[in-house]
Amino acid sequence: MSFHEIQITVNGVHERVSVKSNQTLMLLLRETLALTGTKNGCSAGECGACTVLLNGEAVNSCMVLAAECDGAEVITVEGLAGDPLQDAIIRHGGVQCGFCTPGVLISARALLNRNPNPNDEEIKEALVGNLCRCTGYVRIIEAVKEAARLQV
């Protein structure tokens, strides 16, 4: 199996890595770059725990090959330090076990970037791909609304 030399910018840090063809972006982040904030929930595109921003757009990093990411810019939950979303989700109790939280925050950030003032329906639709077994979603939605308010 072939290896590919890629250059990738993760949370503003420029990395030069050699990746195997079958290595996903998720495994590159978690196992090579030790950014374990991005979670492996299902490896099947279903749960959203692995969601990151790839060139500004939310993707399931378990469904992207690292080899495809030459020249790409990636933001993981570690890159959201200081984001008002972080504070809001804690304040509203939108975190329980926390496993879904990195993906939720990334999806919510992607939403606020493309739509700074979303309504409830738009928030729900943006978070459809982020499964949470704990919170029942209501507090997450409240947190996203508050972050949107704080942002303007």
Binding site: E57, M63, E68
Partner: protein, 298 residues
């Protein structure tokens, strides 16, 4: 028994050709062991299940013509193979002129999956459940294909041969899908019945597109496409013909819906039984035809 709930992808070689010629030649030379790929959202699932073990994945994004999303008021819409569904949904021209297509894309999975999933991948995957296929058929989609013999076109109406089986030959790469201008004054809808409201494959789904047509006894031409009820996406031709030949009334709509239900050959699976599917096709078709008829006659 230990089940690996987080299977990694099996081993393969990732290959990114420089040109369509190179890609077609490589795919033809490695027939049976190389596959083109776009978003990988179908391929990776099947590879992790072990249902598919390709030796090469040939990335066809970035090849000529695959990145364009172009609307021309004379000729219609072209969606490049690499254009993801979110881009289709966000396009003002698609929303204005082909809203049925945007509606179908919106019913697929989640936002982050649609950053990768493509309309062309959905079509090439040829699943009878493919959510965008009904709209693509009803809007008379034509695929632009690059093969070892150069470029050619494949109309969607004759493209699907069975689950996962299409007219494509080794070496073929779909570069884009083209839609002519939709019929004047048309309206459409996509009704998808899933196990939850969002983000699951359909149990059954119905696409209806209708447009005024003074040449017909009914004055209106209906297109009806059914998903998840046959080995291929099913055009309900009998129901379409029945509706074309008489005045549109609630009775003729009910009879057309019955014909659509009778035409389908569903199976039992984890999403629903064949019997349930048949009766839901009838109900959803009636609902969709009525909704579209009312849109045309507010």
């Amino acid at each position: 028994m230990v089940t690996d709930t987080h299977p990694t992808l099996p081993e393969f070689d990732y290959f990114r050709p420089e040109s369509l010629q190179e890609a077609s030649a490589f795919l033809a030379q490695h027939a049976g062991e190389a596959r083109p790929f776009l978003g990988g959202t179908d391929l990776f699932v099947r590879m992790r299940d072990g249902a598919l073990v390709p030796r090469y994945l040939v990335d066809v994004k970035h090849l000529e013509g695959t990145d364009e999303l172009r609307f021309d008021p004379q000729h219609g819409l072209t969606i490049g193979a690499a254009v993801c569904m979110n881009r289709v949904i966000a396009s003002p021209e698609v929303r204005r002129v082909y809203p049925l297509l945007a509606e179908a894309c919106r019913s697929v999975a989640s936002h982050q999956l649609r950053t990768r999933a493509t309309v062309v991948g959905n079509v090439c995957n040829a699943s009878p459940a493919g959510d965008t296929i009904g709209a693509c058929l009803a809007l008379d989609g034509v695929l632009n294909v690059h093969g070892t013999g150069g470029p050619r076109q494949e109309p969607l109406s004759a493209f699907f041969l069975g689950p996962g089986k299409t007219k494509l030959q080794p070496g073929d790469i779909v570069t884009s899908i083209h839609f002519p201008l939709p019929p004047l004054g048309c309206a459409g809808t996509y009704l998808k019945l899933g196990r939850n409201r969002l983000s699951d494959l359909s149990i059954v789904a119905v696409t209806v597109l209708a447009a005024p047509d003074p040449g017909l006894p009914s004055g209106c031409r209906f297109r009806i496409v059914l998903a998840s009820v046959a080995p291929v996406p099913l055009v309900a031709a009998q129901a379409e013909e029945y509706l074309a030949n008489r005045p549109v009334t609630s009775d003729s709509i009910a009879e057309a819906a019955r014909l659509a239900g009778a035409a389908c050959k569903p199976i039992d699976d984890i999403r629903g039984s064949a019997r349930y599917r048949k009766s839901m096709v009838k109900n959803l078709t009636e609902k969709a035809l009525t909704a579209v008829w009312n849109q045309l006659h507010p």
